[in-house]
């Protein structure tokens, strides 16, 4: 019972303050409404691509056409420098440098310059662009493969047409071989053995000489005459063998003629095959792209970072420091104001001869000092971890930290003067801080928000502060390059300083 009574009392105390009740109920509702409206999408919006090529070709135009969709906006730059610088200055999310006269045979790659310090966005963009390029690349790859396949088909047809010729040649060669064997056998079978026939003329002369000298009769030379007769018979035998050889020669000549014809036919077939092969070869030679890598990925890309390579900690450092500044600044300032307002001494402060702005200034400087001490601690730890020398911090960073801290402190002071109770001020401070955090690129990239919300979120002090700090710490940008965003920061400081002053004037008499 007591428990319920205590809880009931707490509720009553809460709803007695209309602003508290309103902030408690509407704070989370507004937050959820804003966040759900903003992040209820998985797409990227309003990605700006800077493009440069010394000479645009059909292929580069076609790739740009592919990129130019609702999601991406392509802006052609005058120079490569301005394109790359545009990424550093957040004019473009990506800078695409196309090689001069880019074509499918080019060995050069398209270079995409991205800002790797935007670690939660860069890979989404790379994937997104890669998928767009991949579509074109697939088209080209398909065309190249089609050429290859057509050539193969043609070769295949030719081969089909000529595929019987080698068989025919083989059978003819077999036939020739058999004929040749037969011829060889015939030639082998020729009997060329012959008894020495002797020299009949010399023999006759000798016989005659002898018979003349001796005056012998013919019987005396009977033996000799027998021998001569035998020789003669041998010659006649040789003549018959020669006739047989002549016959074989005749046959062989005929065979050779046949072989010659067959060889002629084979030659024709071989020439035909040669012709087909030449045709296939010329067709294959006519294929422009034969490199497998080129056929698989006709468009090669290269990703380069505009920021110097560093650790993720270095890249997230600007966001980290802004989170610290925002939460510290808003909470410290609002709490100190509420503490002061609820202090018994508040009234006496009012009646002293002290100008109002002095109280505001002192609160501001107090909170600024604390926030700057926190920043200094974080910086020293960070520099120690990353082993970065202190003198490498650009002086502009210090100016930015001062300006950014001032905005959040003034917002905190405004909240402090706006609300009466500490709990209401705390809820308001949490709500405002969380909204600023959600509508920055810290949790999800701003590019995931619809364009209209992106345009508003760009004026979020958190976004401006983080962007400026990153541009100075990562890219070492000069004041002149940051002048627009710096002027917005200064305008915020002036606005919240005025609002805080007015709110103090209103609340001082209301709350006392």
């Amino acid at each position: 019972m007591k428990l319920i009574q205590i809880i009931k009392k707490n509720f009553l105390l809460l709803i007695r303050s209309k602003s508290s009740a309103l902030v408690v109920l509407l704070g989370p509702l507004i937050l959820m409404l804003l966040v759900s409206l903003a992040f209820n999408s998985s797409s990227l919006f309003n990605i700006r691509i800077g493009a440069y090529s010394p000479q645009y070709s059909d292929l580069s135009e076609s790739l740009l056409q592919q990129l130019q969709t609702d999601q991406f906006k392509v802006v052609r730059t005058e120079t490569q420098e301005s394109c790359i610088k545009g990424v550093e200055r957040e004019q473009y999310h990506v800078c695409a440098i196309f090689p001069s006269n880019l074509n499918i045979k080019s060995s050069e790659a398209i270079t995409f310059y991205v800002d790797k310090s935007k670690i939660n966005l860069v890979y989404i963009i790379i994937n997104s662009i890669s998928s767009k390029i991949q579509i074109k690349s697939s088209e080209l790859s398909t065309a190249l493969t089609a050429t290859l396949v057509n050539t193969l088909n043609d070769a295949n047809t030719k081969i089909d047409e000529k595929k019987d010729l080698p068989t025919k040649i083989t059978s003819k060669i077999d036939e020739l071989s058999s004929k040749s064997n037969k011829l060889s056998s015939n030639l082998q079978s020729l009997d060329l053995s012959q008894s020495p026939a002797g020299n009949f003329t010399l023999i006759s002369l000798e016989i005659e000489k002898i018979r003349n000298e001796t005056g012998s009769d013919k019987s005396t030379f009977k033996t000799l005459n027998n021998l001569i007769g035998e020789a003669k018979s041998n010659v006649e035998s040789a003549n018959s063998k020669l006739a047989a050889i002549i016959s074989i020669r005749e046959t062989s000549v005929n065979e050779l003629k046949s072989i010659n014809e067959a060889l002629s036919s084979n030659k024709q077939d071989t020439i035909s095959i040669q012709s087909s092969l030449n045709e296939i070869s010329s067709r294959i030679n006519a294929i422009e792209i034969k490199d497998i890598q080129k056929i698989v990925t006709p468009v090669s890309t290269e990703i380069k970072s505009v920021s110097k390579e560093s650790t993720h900690l270095s890249y997230t450092f600007p966001a980290l420091i802004i989170i610290v500044i925002m939460f510290s600044g808003i909470f410290l300032a609002s709490t100190s104001i509420i503490d002061e307002k609820s202090s018994r001494a508040y009234f006496r402060n009012f009646i002293t001869p002290t100008k109002n702005y002095l109280f505001l200034l002192s609160h501001y400087l107090f909170s600024l000092t604390i926030v700057l001490i926190q920043i200094a601690i974080i910086f020293f730890v960070m520099l120690y971890i990353t082993k970065t020398p202190t003198n490498t911090i650009p002086p502009l960073v210090l100016l930015l930290l001062f300006l950014i801290s001032s905005i959040f402190i003034l917002i905190g002071m405004f909240i402090g003067y706006l609300f009466k109770s500490e709990e209401t001020a705390n809820i308001a401070a949490i709500s405002i801080s969380v909204i600023m955090l959600f509508f920055s690129s810290t949790i999800l990239p701003l590019e995931t928000l619809p364009s209209a919300i992106q345009d508003i979120a760009k004026f979020n002090p958190f976004v401006i502060g983080e962007s400026l700090l990153r541009r100075v710490s990562v890219f070492n940008e000069s004041v002149s390059a940051l002048s627009f965003q710096l002027s917005i920061l200064l305008a915020y400081i002036a606005l919240f300083a005025i609002l805080t002053y007015v709110m103090r004037e209103i609340s001082s008499r209301r709350d006392l």
Binding site: R348, N349, I351, T352, P353
Partner: protein, 322 residues
């Protein structure tokens, strides 16, 4: 030749939205006065002080301080006026010295001057032993002293105190009133006090204004107010039985009796003709066989004047309502 008023409040009016808080206030405070503004809670006392120190602006009328309109001379008013609020107005988490140094600097006192001044103040306010004690750790009486010390760190010519003895026990009240008296006499500070504790106002103030229902009913020196606004005397009666019902019944029918009340064990009868009423009361004691313990005739207290005046207002308003 009469001196011009140190502070002159002329035709002052103030409303919050529709609610009228102060109506045609006219008051004069002289240099070194201890001026009491008395009235019930919600009568507009604090609003009047807030207008005096320039924290609130009146809807109508002027406050002239040393012949200058304070609205046109706020810088001077801030420097010349000191103030202590009902709840105390210092930083509990600062030490006594730190509080004095802080408020001293807000009143444009130079560091060197503060260095010399603070020990003197600590001594005169009996805070020298608590110099480095946190204000929250001080006793209620010491906190009140510190609050007043913070209110006069800049040596103001006028010190405004809103219910300075509220929530204090009687010894502490006396202590604070003595302190204020000393400040008035030794530092020549004109003091304006608001209070609903009429006894202490009567004790310390030389002048008084009765604020009731947003307007001043009476103002002047205490004796003047008493003389002017109370034509009655008080007969205080105490009987052994302390049963006054029958006597009251009889007294109510008596023409000369203005009012009757019981204060503690005594019956208090207000009358403009005390001799007649006294005889009548003595007759009643005899009639009802009461034993008389004490009876006397007194001049009216500030409280009676206040009661009398507010009663008159109430009675005047009754027929008007009809």
């Amino acid at each position: 030749m009469p001196q011009p008023p140190f502070i002159e409040i002329q035709h002052l009016r103030k409303s919050f939205k529709e609610k009228r808080v102060l109506e045609e206030i006219n008051l004069n405070v002289q240099y070194q006065d201890i001026f009491g503004i008395i009235g019930k809670s919600g009568s507009g006392k604090t609003t009047l002080l807030n207008i005096l120190i320039g924290f609130l602006k009146p809807d109508n009328g002027h406050i002239v301080f040393q012949s200058r309109d304070i609205e046109k001379d706020m810088e001077n008013v801030s420097q010349q006026f000191g103030f202590t609020a009902q709840d105390g107005s210092f930083y509990p988490k600062l030490s006594v010295r730190e509080n004095l140094e802080y408020f001293g600097s807000l009143y444009n006192i130079k560091k060197n001057e503060l260095k010399e001044k603070i020990p003197r103040m600590l001594k005169s306010f009996g805070l020298e032993d608590s110099e480095n004690t946190l204000a929250s750790k001080l006793s209620i009486g010491m906190q009140k002293r510190l609050d007043i010390a913070c209110g006069i760190i800049h040596d103001p010519k006028v010190l405004l105190l809103d219910e300075p003895t509220e929530n204090l026990d009687p010894p502490l009240r006396r202590e604070i009133l003595t302190l204020l008296h000393e400040i008035n006499k030794k530092k020549n500070v004109t003091i304006i006090i608001t209070s609903h504790l009429l006894d202490e106002v009567e004790l310390i103030c030389n002048k008084v204004a009765i604020l009731h229902k947003n307007t001043i009913l009476a103002s002047g020196t205490i004796n003047d107010v008493k003389e002017k606004y109370s034509k009655n005397l008080e007969i205080h009666l105490e009987t052994y039985s302390r049963r006054y019902d029958a006597i009251i019944k009889e007294l109510k029918s008596k023409k000369d009796v203005i009012d009757i009340s019981i204060q503690g064990n005594k019956l208090v009868c207000y009358t403009s003709k005390p001799e007649n009423v006294l005889d009548f009361i003595l007759g009643l004691i005899k009639k009802y066989n009461e034993k008389l313990m004490d009876i006397d005739i007194n001049k009216p207290s500030l409280n009676e004047v206040f009661e009398s005046l507010t009663r008159e207002i109430k009675q005047e308003q009754k027929p008007a309502k009809k």
